[in-house]
């Protein structure tokens, strides 16, 4: 497994597509979340329509709200990026037929896949650190430029927040990797995953959230459970009425961990049994 992990790290590090995905995620958080909101509330505060005045809304970008802001900003886009990241790491091997090159080296199939998942977890940790670090810098810059004062959350909260971010990013990466193995096609894995994420969870989950039967199903979906975890880190200002969470944060964590195990085990089972090549 260590051999596979080392090989995966080399491949992952040298693949430009991975760095582009990370760049998109960081750009989204820094430019669209922090910079855009900061410029709007600073340069054109009258354009803000709503119950919360611009001066107060700005505080969402300050260190006191750092954890809920980064969790919110990295939510859906982070899920999409990690899903693509995971799908690329597995499905590409089938597209390029490199899976057969790998499998005729020394490690067993289980060792190959677990090494791949371990490398994916390592990459997710790096992405989590970059996202958290970039958001912290942006938060610091926002409060410094504004000349206001704001205190950072306690270390314990920061640590829990980082754990929450990491868990969600990992789940979506594992989901993407599982789809890549199941479909053996990059396009099908990414297309299917994003369709589920944006149409299944985000759109239908939002529209039919109050339908009793749908609500019971939604309680088991990874995105809904991720939202429940994020809600455990409230912002100091109330800029919207807020959505009632379908599950509590504790159950959310358990559900996501179960998903991680399920995606890993299913991927292993498929990868172990399936023939490579031929028709």
């Amino acid at each position: 497994m260590i051999a596979s992990f080392r090989a995966e790290n080399l491949k992952s590090r040298k693949r430009w597509a991975n760095w582009i995905l990370i760049g998109i995620l960081l750009a989204w958080i820094l430019l669209l979340t922090y910079l855009t909101l900061f410029l709007v509330v600073t340069l054109s505060p009258k354009s803000i329509q709503g119950p919360v005045p611009a001066s107060l809304l700005k505080r969402r970008l300050f260190p006191e709200n750092f954890v809920p802001t980064v969790l919110g900003a990295a939510g859906t886009i982070g899920a999409a990026i990690m899903l693509i990241f995971g799908a690329l790491s597995t499905a590409s091997e089938f597209g390029w037929l490199t899976v057969q090159t790998i499998l005729i080296q020394k490690p067993t199939r289980a060792a190959v896949l677990l090494g791949k998942f371990l490398a994916l977890a390592g990459a997710t940790l790096l992405i989590g650190i970059l996202v958290f670090g970039a958001a912290a810098l942006a938060s610091f810059a926002a409060v410094t430029l504004d000349g206001s004062s704001s205190s950072w959350p306690a270390w314990e909260v920061m640590l829990k927040g980082f754990g929450a971010l990491l868990l969600q990013l990992t789940i979506w990466a594992a989901f993407g990797a599982f789809l890549g193995i199941a479909f053996r096609s990059t396009a099908a894995a990414i297309g299917g995953g994003l369709t589920y994420l944006f149409v299944g969870e985000a759109l239908l989950g939002g529209l039919l959230r109050n339908t009793p039967i749908v609500r019971d199903v939604l309680r088991f979906l990874p995105g809904i459970n991720g939202d429940a975890i994020n809600a455990a880190f409230p912002v100091t200002i109330r800029d919207s009425a807020g959505q009632t969470q379908l599950v509590n944060a504790g159950r959310g964590v358990i559900t996501l961990v179960v998903y991680l195990v399920v995606f890993t085990v299913l991927s292993l089972l498929i990868f172990q049994r399936r023939d490579v090549g031929g028709s």
Partner: protein, 306 residues
């Protein structure tokens, strides 16, 4: 390290039926001796690649057993002594040739110091820093061989290694295969090119419709098919064919370009010549011809004769 046992590959009743229902390999009993270059010969679709995939552990057999390099196919013990290039050389297009070998070396737990010697062996050192996607077919094939050699394997499986190569590349690859045999290494080479196995292999196994239909040295296979034949060039050829078919069994007569090839005892040459000439056929050439491997191959794989 040379394989201790006498057989590098041994299969018993090996079969593979795909989910589509196609029986690609049917009850195959194959024995490749340690230290030989074994040619696995067969027409396209005969089951060569499927067999090699089974031996590499990429496919699970429907039935039967196999021992490859002393262990079950696909097991770490077998893979540690096996180097293989099955079908297409598959590498990461965004990585250079050298980095691709680094990836393979890491998977195989082979020291990095092995990379440069194998690059040199396949003559790719100068292009090793370029991305795989920029490689020509010949360079891809050579990188595939380099990757297969990284582990310094006892058994080397090469699937159609000259496929897609130009004549110069083909000659170089054949020379390389002969070189790879040095040191007692076993090479299992699949091909549908008859002259290729004739030039490079110690023994040949002929597969057709998933079954091994013949096995032996090239000379043994020739002998099995009659060994030698009579070649007759005559005008008009149709009349000559009718006449010789009346003298020998029709299935012993075959059209080979603008000549007739007769699988008969060469001592019949004089009587056949007399008959043709007396019936007004001009015989421009009549000689004993060594049965080509191609003829043997066609006969064994039951390809319809023209």
């Amino acid at each position: 390290m040379v394989l201790a046992q006498t057989l590098a590959v041994e299969t018993h009743g090996l079969s593979k039926r795909y989910s589509t229902g196609v029986l690609a390999v049917n009850n195959l009993d194959l024995r490749v001796r340690a230290g030989e270059v074994y040619g696995f010969l067969g027409p396209n679709g005969a089951g060569k690649t499927t067999t090699l995939r089974l031996l590499s552990g990429l496919l699970h057999p429907t039935s039967g057993t196999a021992v490859v390099a002393g262990a079950a196919p696909g097991s770490p013990a077998s893979l540690a002594r096996l180097g293989a290039m099955v079908e297409t050389p598959a590498f990461y297009p965004y990585l250079s040739g050298r980095d691709n070998l680094r990836v393979v070396a890491r998977y195989a737990s082979v020291p990095r110091s092995r990379i440069e010697p194998v690059l040199k062996l396949v003559d790719l050192t100068d292009r090793a820093r370029h991305k795989f996607k920029t490689y020509s077919t010949g360079m891809k094939q050579r990188l595939g061989v380099a990757a297969a050699l990284l582990k310094a394997p006892d058994l080397l499986i090469l699937d159609e290694p000259t496929s897609g190569l130009d004549p110069q590349g083909t000659i170089e690859m054949r020379a390389l295969i002969k070189e790879l045999k040095q040191g007692g290494r076993t090479v299992l080479l699949s091909s549908h090119l008859l002259n290729e196995v004739e030039l490079t292999c110690d023994r040949v196994g002929v597969i057709a419709k998933g079954q091994l239909v013949a096995e032996g040295t090239v000379d043994e296979l020739r002998a099995r098919s009659g060994g030698s034949a009579l070649l007759i060039r005559a005008t008009p050829l149709d009349q000559a064919r009718r006449l010789v078919e009346s003298m020998v069994k029709p299935e012993q007569v075959r059209l080979d370009g603008d000549a007739l090839l007769l699988s008969v005892d060469p001592s019949q040459a004089a009587s056949i010549n007399r008959r043709l000439v007396s019936d007004g056929v001009d015989v421009s050439e009549l000689r004993v011809s060594e049965q080509s491997l191609e003829a043997v191959f066609l006969e064994l794989t039951e390809t319809p004769q023209k």
